[in-house]
């Protein structure tokens, strides 16, 4: 067998070496024309940590598809996905592969991809690289490497308002007492992006339901159905009446739907994906980063040969942050009207999400060990030095309490609010 296989192998090698010669020519071609290529000629490569079965990546893909459709870019020929790419040198390999396939723009969607994208960006200066949730674009000094994120805390805040209004309804109906207004939150990691997200959600709920409290648990994984369902069960035991999440599978809505069907109403607020079909009885609404405006902006800018900002931050104003469709079975018109009111407040600046007068902080709790901040005698923040400039030692470097609010996503798009505030308990 060895001999036969060896001969086969040799034949294979010869054949492919020949193929390789032919290939070399195509790869240089599209890059050469990249600069002046029209919008519809753009070739786009996307590196995803997971695939379409995982909410965060699905949301990313939906937006790219939508942007391509709206701008007339042919998804079949000009869009290549590399799915399930781990956060190691496989990411670099995937980037190079996309360059070889002739991509003009390459996007990567996960935090741990960043270093490997930068390595590829250094090697291929003629290709534009974009990395979502990353922190290094401003300091990397590369003209072709960019970060992006969105002020999702605004969307979380709105989702929190919906949750708070639901809690009020439960209290009014006598289902729970004001003290029992306890929410659960399944978070992926004890990381600023998650902490900023659940804090803004909690503040939204608290703004309409002052007695609301929240318990948070971590799964330590961005996407793990079993862990998320387990986490949900743990929080149910804590006595929560409403659940939200920052983890990427359907674990949390499914658990809530099961619980609700079993007769213990447990409402659910999602992230990125509309869960009304998965949890028709439990779901209320989801907050969402809509990447479509971002992709359209970038595609157009690159096609026109315009400069792209190093660090793009989508906002509620540009439609990058929004709520998904409400579940009408659980959300009343009154609630929707109140949300619109709050949204208008966020837009005109009368409502600030991280308004320091609305929450207190206990700095000596263990979770806040590494936080550099100061509070007044009532516990309101007066100073918070965030680690907004990436460095190896994560030195807190930038004062972020400005005019009575924590200015989130101002110094860079990726969130840096990482304080655990009072009313939130980690279990």
């Amino acid at each position: 067998m060895k001999k036969i296989l060896a001969v086969l192998l040799a034949a294979l090698m010869l054949f492919t070496l020949a193929a390789c010669g032919g290939n070399g020519d195509d790869t240089t071609d599209p890059n050469a024309g990249g600069e002046n290529a029209g919008l519809t000629d753009l070739k786009i490569g996307v590196v995803l940590l997971h695939n379409e079965t995982v909410g965060y990546d699905e949301n990313f893909m939906l937006a790219i598809d939508a942007a391509c459709d709206e701008l007339g870019i042919d998804k079949n020929t000009n869009l290549i996905y590399k799915k399930d790419v781990p956060e190691d040198s496989a990411c670099y390999d995937a980037c190079v592969e996309l360059v070889e396939d002739g991509c003009d723009l390459i996007f990567a969607d996960s935090f741990g991809h960043e270093e490997f994208v930068i390595k590829a960006a250094e090697e291929f200066p003629e290709v534009q690289f974009f990395h979502a949730t990353g922190t290094n674009a401003k300091i990397a000094g590369l003209a072709n490497f960019h970060n992006a994120f969105a002020s999702i805390y605004e969307g979380r805040y709105l989702a929190g308002v919906v949750a708070g209004l639901k809690l009020n309804e439960l209290i009014e109906n006598g289902d729970i007492t004001a003290e029992e207004a306890k929410m659960g939150y399944i978070s992926a990691k004890p990381y600023a992006e998650c902490i900023s997200g659940y804090t803004s959600y909690y503040l939204g709920a608290k703004s309409v339901c002052p007695s609301a409290t929240m318990v948070v648990t971590y799964t330590d994984s961005w996407a793990d159905l079993a862990l998320e369902q387990e986490a949900a069960k743990k929080l149910i035991k804590e006595g929560v009446v409403l659940m939200s999440e920052h983890a990427d599978t359907d674990g949390s809505p499914m658990a809530c739907e099961d619980e609700t069907k079993a007769g213990n109403a447990l409402y659910h607020v999602g992230y990125n994906i509309n869960f009304n079909d998965i949890a028709p009885n439990a779901n209320l609404v989801s907050s969402k980063i809509d990447w479509t405006p971002y992709f359209k902006t970038i595609f157009t800018a690159v096609a026109n040969g315009e400069e792209v900002e190093a660090d793009y931050c989508g906002t509620i104003e540009t439609g990058s942050v929004r709520l998904t469709e409400y579940n009408d079975a659980n959300v009343t018109e009154e609630m929707k009207a109140k949300v619109e009111e709050v949204k208008a407040g966020l837009l005109d600046g009368t409502i600030k999400v991280f308004d320091t007068s609305t929450f207190t902080v206990t700095l000596d709790r263990p979770e806040n060990e590494f936080v550099v901040a100061e509070v007044d005698e009532d516990g309101h923040l007066t100073s918070f030095t965030a680690d907004a400039v990436a460095d190896a030692a994560f030195t807190p470097d930038t004062e972020s309490v400005i005019d009575g609010e924590v200015a989130e996503s101002l110094h860079r798009s990726a969130p840096y609010f990482n304080i655990i505030i009072d009313g939130i308990e980690i279990v």
Partner: protein, 364 residues
């Protein structure tokens, strides 16, 4: 009831007494061809006609060998798998079910990273040497622990080595949190030093050469050394081994030290040669895939070059098709699974023959 007697079933299965080498090779090559065809069919079905049958194979070839860089990556991945398969061979030859290659490689990778974090200022050559030793020792330790308990108290090695994987994963997670580049993110930055240089201008050159040398040495060790013979005897029958004066416990512990050390070496090469960081899934399931790669090669290290190449080729080839047809990684899992299933099934036809009723009457 149509069947009257149970005496003469429609199909009988009988053990083959003897099979010519030519025929058994023929069955094996045939099974590879059938496996490749089946993979093509599966891909044809799940791509919904986005790609023609012929294109499937040309794309797989292009994905694995399309450019000089792709060839390098295919060879690199083949070697990564090969190293673990070679590491498992002595243990399996001894009938010691080492399911812990994943963990042994992981602690090897972790040890390398710890060395770099502790003494980043050493000259690179010395640093690499220390990393190498640390990884090999760590891997060997991870192998010796279950080996020792197997020898002393007959602890079940399958469960023990499997559990050691989880201990290794948790250890790695612990260290990654210490080193993470942003609080809570759970990922570390790549190391700035302790990287294997190019060899003859080829990336991964060192890894490839080291693994090929180890493969040949391992073949010689298993086939021609006294220790290799002892492993084979212990595997066939512990009582025979004892009878002829082999210290069985010593052989078990020693062999697991070798098996673990080679896994640790694989971990060292992953860190210094490829990824320059450690994370809990850095071995990527290769520790388990290597088991089947080793068995397919009948525990012959040289044959493993072919089997690990075959598995890596399918993996990379389907990944290429997945990206051109908008599929995800599950496609690759299915295809590799189907292929391995068919090839393993061929072993059945090599060891047994299927006799239909008519024939059975004619036969003796």
């Amino acid at each position: 009831m149509k069947v009257k007697t149970a005496k003469e079933p429609m199909i009988r299965i009988a053990k083959r007494t003897e099979l010519s080498t030519g025929l058994s090779m023929g069955i094996r090559v045939g099974s590879i061809v059938i496996a490749l065809l089946a993979c093509g069919l599966v891909l044809l079905l799940i791509t919904n006609g986005k790609i023609s049958f012929g294109d499937i194979y040309s794309q797989m070839l292009e994905g694995a060998f399309g450019t000089a860089r792709r060839i390098k990556i295919t060879v690199r991945d083949t070697c990564a798998l090969l190293c673990l398969a070679v590491a498992l061979a002595p243990a399996f030859k001894m009938r010691f079910w080492n399911i812990g290659a994943e963990g042994q490689a992981l602690v090897g990778a972790l040890a390398s990273c710890i060395v770099v974090k502790l003494c980043p200022d050493l000259p690179v050559a010395l640093l690499l040497l220390v990393m190498f030793i640390a990884s090999v020792v760590a891997g060997a330790l991870w192998g010796v622990i279950p080996g020792y308990f197997k020898a002393k108290i007959k602890a079940n090695e399958t469960l023990f080595t499997l559990m050691m994987n989880y201990v290794a994963i948790q250890l790695v997670k612990f260290f990654v949190v210490l080193w993470e580049k942003q609080k809570g993110a759970g990922v570390m930055s790549t190391l700035t030093t302790g990287k294997l240089p190019q060899l003859f201008g080829v990336d991964y050159g060192w890894s490839i050469v080291i693994i090929l040398v180890i493969t040949v040495l391992s073949y010689v060790y298993m086939k021609y050394s006294k220790q290799g013979y002892e492993i084979a005897v212990v595997g066939e029958s512990e009582n025979t081994a004892r009878y002829i004066g082999i210290n069985v416990n010593k052989v078990i512990v020693r062999t697991m030290a070798i098996s673990g050390a080679l896994c640790g070496l694989a971990g060292f090469l992953l860190v210094s040669g490829t990824h320059h960081l450690v994370k809990s899934d850095i071995v990527g399931g290769n520790g388990f895939t290597a088991i089947i790669v080793a068995w397919l090669a009948k525990l012959n290290p040289l044959t493993m070059i072919l089997t690990s190449f075959f598995v890596s080729f399918l993996d990379i080839g389907t990944a290429k098709i997945a990206s051109s047809c908008n599929l995800n990684d599950f496609a690759s899992d299915v295809v590799v699974g189907v292929a391995l299933f068919i090839i393993l099934a061929s072993e059945f036809f090599i060891n047994y023959r299927v006799i239909f009723n008519k024939r059975a009457k004619e036969g003796k």
